[in-house]
């Protein structure tokens, strides 16, 4: 033990914190217990260092989700819409029907065929869910009101009166999302990579008014492809 130069050991002064604890023994004990409890609860709460065993493994492989896509085109493959329109609507100009309808007279019906190719991964059925004509004049509106349309899927590609009964043709305005023209159903769904022949009939009412004479309109047919569950 070292002694100061004057040979008298002086009483050392306790640090302030030590003095505080020594003068408040009960409070000090409670404080220590509280701190200890806090630490234990903290460990439990974070689930940190209680260190139970744990191991993780991962699976292997990939499952792909398919696509629904359809391409419209003329018979023979020309004048085609995109094979996969993605999330946009593929556009197709049905020129064969336009040409056929040039000679349309009251009471006449013209027929045209186009193709729908299934470019997706699931069987599909098709329907027309709307026909939107453009032509604001009185003559054009008279023509629109006098037109009837029908459509059906044909296995052979044949397209004529035999595929339709006149009564099955409906007015443009009758074609809606709730009352669509159904071209095919699950029973004759178009399989992936297969092509369906779509026969479309357009007739002019025999009682079409004279104001419709020589009128011309354009119209957009909105078609819809629905997934059909594969059978088997």
């Amino acid at each position: 033990m070292d002694f100061p130069a004057d040979g008298i050991q002086k009483k050392q002064t306790s640090p302030a914190w030590k003095h505080w604890f020594l003068t408040r023994p009960r409070l000090s004990i409670m404080l220590v217990i509280a701190l200890g409890t806090t630490v234990v609860l903290g460990l439990l709460g974070t689930n940190g260092t209680l260190a139970l065993w744990r191991i993780t493994g991962t699976g292997n492989g990939t499952v792909s989700i398919g696509n629904l896509s359809v391409q419209f085109r003329d018979v023979g493959g020309s004048n085609a819409s995109p094979s996969d329109g993605g999330n946009t609507s593929p556009k197709y100009s049905f020129s064969a029907l336009s040409q056929a309808s040039d000679a349309l007279l009251p009471g006449n019906t013209v027929y045209s065929v186009f193709e729908a190719r299934n470019t997706g991964d699931v069987p599909i059925s098709l329907s027309f869910t709307g026909i939107t004509p453009t032509g604001p004049s009185a003559g054009q509106q008279a023509l629109t009101s006098s037109l009837r349309v029908g459509a059906v899927l044909t296995a052979s590609g044949a397209c004529g009166p035999a595929q339709f009964a006149q009564a099955s043709l409906v007015a443009f305005s009758s074609v809606t999302t709730t009352t669509p023209i159904v071209l095919n159903t699950a029973t004759n769904a178009i399989s992936p990579a297969a092509t369906g022949k779509m026969c479309v009939a357009l007739s002019l009412d025999a009682a079409a008014p004279a104001s419709a004479q020589s009128a011309a309109i354009t119209y957009v047919i909105t078609s819809r492809a629905d997934q059909q569950r594969p059978t088997g």
């Binding site: 065993w53 493994g57 699976g59 292997n60 499952v63 398919g66 999330n87 059978t231």
Partner: protein, 205 residues
């Protein structure tokens, strides 16, 4: 207190300390090792083999819900309404007298949308179950209706290791709108099988 008393007290304390530490008073002493045996730790392990998987799908026609094999999952394309099932072997080790554990499957990151697309999480539903347990073992019990399965003790097989076959079922919602989810993928390398030890103090002997 006089100096003599202080000296006696200090000396007595010194003797007492020496006796207490068994230090240098050189009385007889002897040491021996106890033959208490060894303490062996248990084990917890999980291996997801890269082979041995099988895939099935539920039929639509015929007897709906019948499971039929999928020959090659890499060429199979799921579509809304499809239900496919993976049978995945899991090599599980659980040993230790008080070993308990829970196996959890996390598929939350498994489905990936194609570029520019989105797939709502609700589109894919994942459930799980088990093929028959290996001989001498029991399959774990389900925690509620979750994909967490509880082993209530160590495995009975020697070494505490056995291969269980878990079945994980993926259902693609049939209420999809438009082309939602088209061309997405379910990447099983992002599916985690986690085995967590769970511990509760055993009752006092």
């Amino acid at each position: 207190m006089n100096k003599l008393s202080k000296g006696i007290i200090v000396g007595g304390l010194g003797v007492a300390l020496l006796l207490g530490t068994g230090g240098s008073l050189a009385l007889w002493n002897v040491s021996a090792t106890s033959n208490g045996g060894q303490v062996v730790l248990g084990d917890l392990n999980l291996v997801v083999p890269a082979t041995g998987q099988t895939w099935e799908r539920q039929t639509v026609a015929g007897t709906p819900g019948t499971w039929v094999p999928i020959a090659d999952i890499s060429t199979y394309k799921m579509v809304p309404g499809d239900v496919v099932r993976l049978t995945q072997p899991l090599d599980i080790t659980l040993s230790g007298t008080n070993m308990k554990a829970e196996l959890a499957i996390d598929t939350s990151s498994a489905i990936s949308a194609p570029a520019g697309g989105t797939v709502p999480g609700s589109m894919l539903t994942v459930t799980s179950g088990w093929l028959a347990a290996p001989a001498g073992e029991s399959n774990p019990t389900q925690v509620g209706t979750t994909n967490v399965w509880r082993f209530n003790g160590p495995l009975a097989t020697t070494g505490g290791k056995a291969t269980f076959k878990q079945q994980v079922t993926f259902s693609l919602s049939s209420t999809a709108t438009g082309r939602t989810g088209a061309l997405a993928t379910i990447d099983l390398s992002k599916t985690n099988f986690t085995l967590n030890q769970t511990y509760t103090n055993p009752p006092a002997a």
